[in-house]
């Protein structure tokens, strides 16, 4: 076993992991999604970028099964949401972790839900700790940790069961710059170790491109895919990536598409 569980699936690497077909979602009378299609390949980081209120959060909440859909389907390697292990990282870590549990128990919670034995849970948490190289005390309660430490714990919790997909809704928005940089690198490192498919909503275009294999650009509502911009730079990406011509071009192009969509 690798440091972090790689999901085992019988599917070939080429078939898309997530397929969204004819997705429909209304709030009241106004359509948010009205026939939305999307394929997401396995083992990629997808950044989601789009105008305010275009439905980024709603999209990943529907994928996570937290909001019902009004039509269409969302499948994960042909499986339904129920049959799929999904990790979710909220922007607001304060209200995502359980303050009545110690941080260690928070991270272990999804494993306990799956009915793992104590020893197995213990071993898995230690594995995560080693992989993340964290330097804070997991026996503290979440509210005793800094924001960045709490969000790190949230990410560890999301990754603990070895999910097939991790969904992240603006995970850095509530963090200061230093913590953002730190966790961004952790995320990239985890991705390189495990190849876990990640879908990350970001409102920072530079960050979106920096982390992504594909930047999913959305239109205003009723929301469609405006364009999927590929960015193939090798990993690990670092400061030099930010000044590489390919990065600058991907970012410039994304911005262009975004501005075109916002003005429409």
């Amino acid at each position: 076993m690798t440091i972090l569980d790689t999901p085992t699936t019988g599917q070939s690497v080429d078939s898309p992991l997530i397929t969204i077909r004819g997705l429909v979602k209304y709030f009241g009378d106004a359509p948010l999604y009205d026939g939305f299609d999307l394929d997401i390949a396995r083992g990629r980081i997808i950044s989601v970028f789009g105008p305010n209120g275009c439905g980024k959060s709603t999209l990943i909440n529907m994928m996570a099964g937290l909001i019902p859909i009004d039509g269409g389907e969302i499948l994960f390697g042909g499986k339904t949401r129920r049959e799929t292990r999904i990790g979710y990282v909220f922007q607001n870590y304060r209200e995502a972790l359980f303050p009545w549990m110690r941080t260690r128990d928070n991270i272990a919670y999804p494993l306990k839900l799956m009915g793992w034995s104590k020893a197995r849970v213990e071993a898995r948490v230690e594995e995560l700790v080693a992989s993340f190289g964290i330097g804070f005390d997991l026996n503290r309660y979440p509210y005793e940790l800094s924001g960045g430490q709490q969000q790190t714990a949230s990410i560890m919790r999301a990754l603990a069961p070895g999910p097939e997909v991790v969904l992240l809704d603006e995970p850095f928005s509530a963090l200061d710059f230093e913590m953002t940089l730190f966790i961004r690198e952790k995320l990239q490192q985890v991705f390189m170790e495990t190849g876990t498919t990640m879908m990350l909503v970001s409102h920072d275009l530079e960050e979106a491109v920096y982390l992504a294999d594909e930047v999913l650009l959305l239109t205003k509502r009723p929301t469609q895919v405006a364009e999927v911009v590929r960015f193939d730079a090798a990993r690990p990406r670092d400061l030099d990536t930010l000044s590489a011509p390919a990065f600058i071009e991907a970012k410039r192009h994304s911005l262009e598409v975004f501005q075109r969509e916002v003005r429409k």
Binding site: I86, F90, W100, L113, M114
Partner: protein, 286 residues
Amino acid sequence: MSADMTDPAPLAAPPDAGSIRALPSRAQARRRAARERAVGLLLPVVGAVALFVIWALVAQMKLITPILLPGPIPVLATLVQGLAGGKLMMDFAVTVLRTLEAFAISAVIGMPLGVLLGSNEKAYRSVEFLIDFFRSTPASAMIPLFLLIFGVSDFNKVAIAAFGAVLIVIFNSAYGVMNARKQRIMAARVMGASGWRVFRDVLIWESLQPSFVGLRTAVSMALVVVVVAEMFIGSTNGLGHAILDAQQVLNVKLMYAAILATGILGYLLNILFLYAERRIVHWSGR
């Protein structure tokens, strides 16, 4: 490093720089902090001491006739005597017991019921009016009714206090569950928690803090009702009885002492619940 790092130029303004005040030294700062701490500890007693002094002066100068207002010293002496093994101690103990009994009944019934109702919003909405109505009805208005049902028994006082308190507990626990942070519930669900696990691992915990507010209010309510019941439901003991009895025989010192004892009891109960809340709901407000 620049050259001026080695330059011993004075960092602080020269002492004669008129308008600029010199920074306090560290020892001064420490002394000031200690003084502020001491003041902080003393402030809460200021009001009490002031009241005591005014009371003493008013009694001394006989601004109010001594039949109505004895001085604080004899009252306190009566209080201490009474509580240290006198009749007042028995009354105190009886009232504590009744209040705690009523409270325990209301907590044991109210918390689970409130949590259950709160986790099924339709169920709560269907009894919301009843709860709000009887919560708004002064429990004392129900005393005659309870007299009919339970007679002049000892349990009557407990029952009616429990009735007043239980509605408060139900209300707060139910709202605690209904106002549980949606994102915590979502987090549990996304990890695959069943409805039962969400209830057990999230809703109950989320409701704890508001439940404690309910319990604290409920114990105060129980005390109020118990004291009233002790006055008017043929009682032979309890602080309510002690107060009324002392008044009837114009033993004003004892009456004041019993009132103070009741106040002390209410205050202690409140403190106790605040403390328990802080220990148990350790994450509250953080």
